[in-house]
Symmetry: C2
Subunit: 656 residues, 2 copies
């Protein structure tokens, strides 16, 4: 079981971490000097660089590695597209309004909070110990301000508990019934609330000057990829399977945002749509590369049994036993895990949770979330769903666009079937303007019916066919008009709508989880926080500190800074008057993995000390060696241990 501790095993104090993140400007509430807008955050310099490095690594790990076709589609999206995708009708939460104060409550959250509070009051009244679920508590801006100590009937307790267990599954009407039944009111004023109404979570706007083209800010990047499928397939020279990918902002007009970066109104997503032939078991050609990776699964079955311990097994076994539906889905689950590890996520704080049947869309084949453990509990950070052919099919049906694959069969398909020939010459004169209707009815006959009719035709010399709207709905065809025979048809072309495997990454949630997983503090000094990002991910790679403000240091510092920039290594100079220890401490909080000290020895012989953030150990070598080591560390080609082994350790000067 993952626990709420830092990577060095200390209890994680979120208040201290939050203060560090604000102080170091990782992120900050947007428009704060105007009072702020909840659910909107700006990223400051270190946050911005950290986010860019996560995205860059994502692009290398997925797009470059697998030749994915990256696209950049607009956020503004016209109504019709999102109507077809289902978002206009279903991307909504239920809200209740207090008609007097105008205050708005998210209905499911309100019911949940009120019933939980009553159960708590009941426990207190019974003198039982009240265990607060801190994870859940933390996520909320609480609406219920005080718990009344009132004992409930035993039956009521049971009923409440049953409702709470199913709280995510109620629709608006049902939530309305619960609110009436349990007399749930505005927790502060006691006023009655209006019945729940659906609130669509998309931001609406209108495009162009005439206000009649309704549009929304996209709720996900996926739709743009689906709409471009045909062009992407052509770009890919008609070759299947392939994946598209997109990185960009999406929007969700939360009723009541909470939990910092974890539930915001504007967020960065990275989504992959892997298009695959539904036939042939959705094999993946590179599955063998990952099949021995062990992952932590929280299957549907485990969840149904009420347990929370994950089961560890290889992804190979998970696919072969059917726990994970197919190789392609399994391949991506493993690749997701590899990505998370690569950026520095703690392996013991990753689990793959399978969606319950009632959680999945009706068309989905299987769906898993990569959840990361944080002080807010387990957080869904990556979704990975097999969405079947749903998305392409609905847009294809709506627009008539050719969102399918047309391919020559390697082996022509031989189909035995009952075929019908009509004698067109006699047919026309006989049925006149009704000919087409009758023909269409004949064409529509099922294979089963054709077989039966062929027997009738042989036996009676005629068949009777239902044709709606023609004479009395029955038409008799004699054997000089119709022939029914079993023949073999050869099909050389195959058309199919690809299935979609969709790994979908919430970058902001990964960003926040990574910060928690990277955070610890120097033993003995809680205030000295460290963010141990891997060098590839760290916002700034190197801190340059001149020993003092002595004038001989500045040209050297400038020269090294320039040289590092030229090889693409981000660095910052701190020539403030603070002690070297203080300057390093500041950069530990910024997660800067390396530090160069420029001292009097450097002026003499052009050697420098290089300091490792995590171990605080130092090596000393020539400028060329130090720059080469930094480049190799920043690009992830070497670890500090490699460098430490090959360059001489420096012990002479204690910078702490």
């Amino acid at each position: 079981m993952a626990s709420n501790t830092t990577k060095t095993g200390q209890p994680l104090d979120r208040a201290i971490l939050d203060s560090l993140l604000r102080r170091r400007l990782f992120y900050t509430p947007s428009f704060e000097i105007y009072g702020g807008v909840s659910g909107l955050y700006d990223y400051g310099p270190p946050g911005c660089a950290l986010q860019a490095n996560i995205v860059d690594t994502w692009r290398k790990h997925f797009v470059l590695e697998e030749d994915m076709l990256e696209v950049d589609c607009t956020m503004l999206t016209p109504h019709d597209v999102l109507k077809t995708s289902g978002h206009v009708d279903k991307f909504a939460d239920w809200m209740c309004k207090d008609p007097k104060t105008g205050e708005i409550f998210r209905a499911d959250h309100l019911v949940e909070e009120v019933l939980e509070s009553r159960l708590k009051g009941d426990k207190e009244a019974r003198g039982q110990k009240v265990v607060v679920d801190e994870e859940k508590d933390n996520k909320r801006k609480k609406k219920v301000k005080e718990t009344k100590v009132v004992k409930l009937e035993d039956a009521t307790v049971k009923e409440y508990e049953e409702v709470l267990a199913k709280i995510d599954n109620y629709n608006g009407e049902e939530l309305g019934q619960l609110i009436v039944k349990y007399n749930i009111t505005n927790p502060v004023t006691g006023a009655e609330l209006l019945p729940p109404v659906s609130f669509n979570l998309m931001f609406q706007t209108s495009i162009g000057p005439s206000s009649n083209l309704r549009g929304y800010l996209r709720p996900e990047t996926a739709q743009g990829q689906f709409l471009t499928f045909q062009k992407l397939l052509e770009f890919n020279q008609q070759s299947m399977p392939f994946a598209s990918a997109s990185i960009g902002k999406s929007f969700r007009n939360e009723i009541s945002p909470r939990a910092g970066l974890l539930r915001v109104r504007e967020f960065l997503m990275a989504e992959i749509e892997h298009f695959v032939d539904p036939e042939g078991g959705k094999k993946h050609p590179r599955f063998h590369e990952v099949q021995d990776m062990e992952l932590a699964f929280l299957s549907r079955e485990i969840q149904l049994s009420g347990r929370t311990e994950v089961e560890k097994m290889t992804i190979g076994k998970a696919v072969s036993t059917g726990l994970v539906d197919n190789e392609t889905l399994g391949y991506f689950l493993a690749r997701i895990q590899l990505f998370l590890l690569r950026i520095g996520i703690d392996e013991s704080k990753i689990r793959l949770r399978q969606h319950m049947m009632n959680e999945m869309a009706h068309y989905a084949t299987d769906c898993w979330d990569a959840e990361l453990f944080t002080s807010y509990g387990w957080i869904e950070c990556v979704g990975c769903a097999d969405r079947s052919a749903y998305d392409l099919s609905v847009h294809k049906d709506k627009t008539g666009a050719a969102l399918f694959v047309r391919e020559t069969r390697q082996e022509p398909l031989h189909i035995e079937e009952w075929q019908i020939d009509l004698d067109k010459k006699k047919f026309g004169p006989r049925f006149k303007k009704e000919s087409k209707t009758v023909e269409a009815a004949v064409d529509a006959l099922s294979q089963e019916l054709r077989e039966k009719l062929s027997l009738d035709l042989e036996k009676d010399g005629k068949v009777e066919i239902d044709v709606e709207g023609v004479s009395d709905g029955k038409v008799v065809l004699e054997k000089d008009l119709i022939k029914i025979e079993k023949r073999t048809r050869v099909e050389n072309i195959r058309e199919y709508v690809p299935n979609v495997i969709e790994p979908s990454f919430g970058i902001g949630r990964i960003f926040y989880s990574l910060i928690e997983h990277s955070y610890w503090s120097r033993p003995g000094d809680e205030a000295r926080g460290v963010l141990s990002f891997p060098p590839v991910i760290a916002p700034t790679k190197v801190l340059l500190v001149p020993l003092s403000s002595h004038q001989s240091f500045k040209p050297i510092v400038d020269r090294i800074a320039l040289r590092l920039r030229r090889v693409g290594v981000s660095n910052r100079v701190d020539d403030s008057s603070a002690s070297i220890g203080k300057r390093y401490a500041r950069n530990d909080e910024l997660g800067t993995p390396l530090g160069i000290t420029v001292d009097f020895q450097s002026v003499k012989d052009n050697t420098f000390t290089l300091r490792d953030r995590d171990s605080m150990k130092q090596v000393r070598a020539s400028e060329d060696e130090i720059v080469a080591a930094i480049k190799s560390l920043a690009e992830g080609e070497e670890t500090w241990n490699d460098v430490f082994k090959r360059l001489p350790e420096f012990l002479g000067q204690d910078v702490e």
Copy 2:
């Protein structure tokens, strides 16, 4: 004078280029299968990679090079912020509606088009030669479908010409008067139009469930940076000057988008806000690095004289002669030019156009646009303005936030001034509850008045002061109550609102101009287009082509592809059955600078040919040497000429 030719001097045929860009999926109208939405475009894989490489180069050239503080602020922006910035009131165009058809016209464009069409008809009627301004013509979706051949009065011709010369300067009321005066109607139906109304170009939405928090999609990224100034200054350890930077989408709800990527409703911007002390002439410490760069200036003066030839001079001279207002502005103009050259923009197609006085905002000190020449004419791609202290001041005044710099003066400031002492003990009993009002009036007295009053006091033993709202508006103070003396005040702290130099890049416009500047076609074969992007910018760096589908090639191709990926070089394999020449031709259109052919010799001795897109020359060397050369070319460390000199040329096999 820049001319509309490709880099090899051929006339640029935009229709052919457009078809290439569509075919190769650089970009494509968004939501096309739903009928499309004008002014919205999606970037396909090569466009997306090209854009990402431009942005990456921008980040290295500006952010990394100058230690800028990059921030990522939200696009959703509450009303109050954009009210203060002036966008709610002024970010608008004038539009006229046809009340019958509902059709909407942008008022200035309509007046311009109709008058131009009448002048054209007049010329035809007079039998004069009509010269069509193709540039202008090209930019438009024309509303005027046909020109009537009607001779005008000479005076009318002159009047029309005067109106057209000032067309950008009319406000809504004036445009309405022109429409009435010249009887301008719906050009197709002849129907009268409603008077011009202001149409705000921001997309509006509402944030949160209660619809009372009005918001907009940001029209620029700048505001987020201004609002964060105080935190950024602190992050920068109170050190000035510094710059913030931001890369992100902005939005503009165009009345009638046109000219492809050049005027769109959603676009990527990169903006820098360089905060500088207004005192001391806005010097820049790195100006000497660029001062000898020669730039092409189209000054205000040249424009006023009606000429269009630029004046070339060094930026050093431009600043020292006062053409460019200050060093910091000049430094950025040079850095902008260096950036444009670095990504491959044609130097002969860059000019710096100074804003006319009436074009600039009232608070701006100086403003220049870097314009790039394309088949649509000169296009504003980068703006570079000295915005004085305007932005920080308005937000500071509105919110009271500390958007200023507070610094200890190196030399304390000695100020001689008239100071007033009031005898508080007597003052209170005398004026009672009016004391504060009187005191405030005294405090507010100007230095000038104080000097005069000191003389009165000496002469008459009393002074008379205006105090609104107290007795009859006059208060007399005797010399036992008030003392006025000239004294020296020492000021150790200085507070100032920094000025802002703002280089602002329209990435989509630069992207499109770069494509035009990079395009040419192989002599003798117009259909064989080439996009000669520099390797650093090219969407894909290397094409891998096996000579045939022979099975011995595949493992080699896979191995090299993997190896290139590992060193971060994007590549694509084309193992289709097309001829090698065809496969290279496709990738010339995609701008892929390098190609590796895997042939039977490769199987034998692991050597490969490397082909240069532009010269079509080839070298042959070992796998290690080829991979090293590619990495060095892709990172811009070597040019093809360098590689061609040091590796043996390969002539044996003609792949065309």
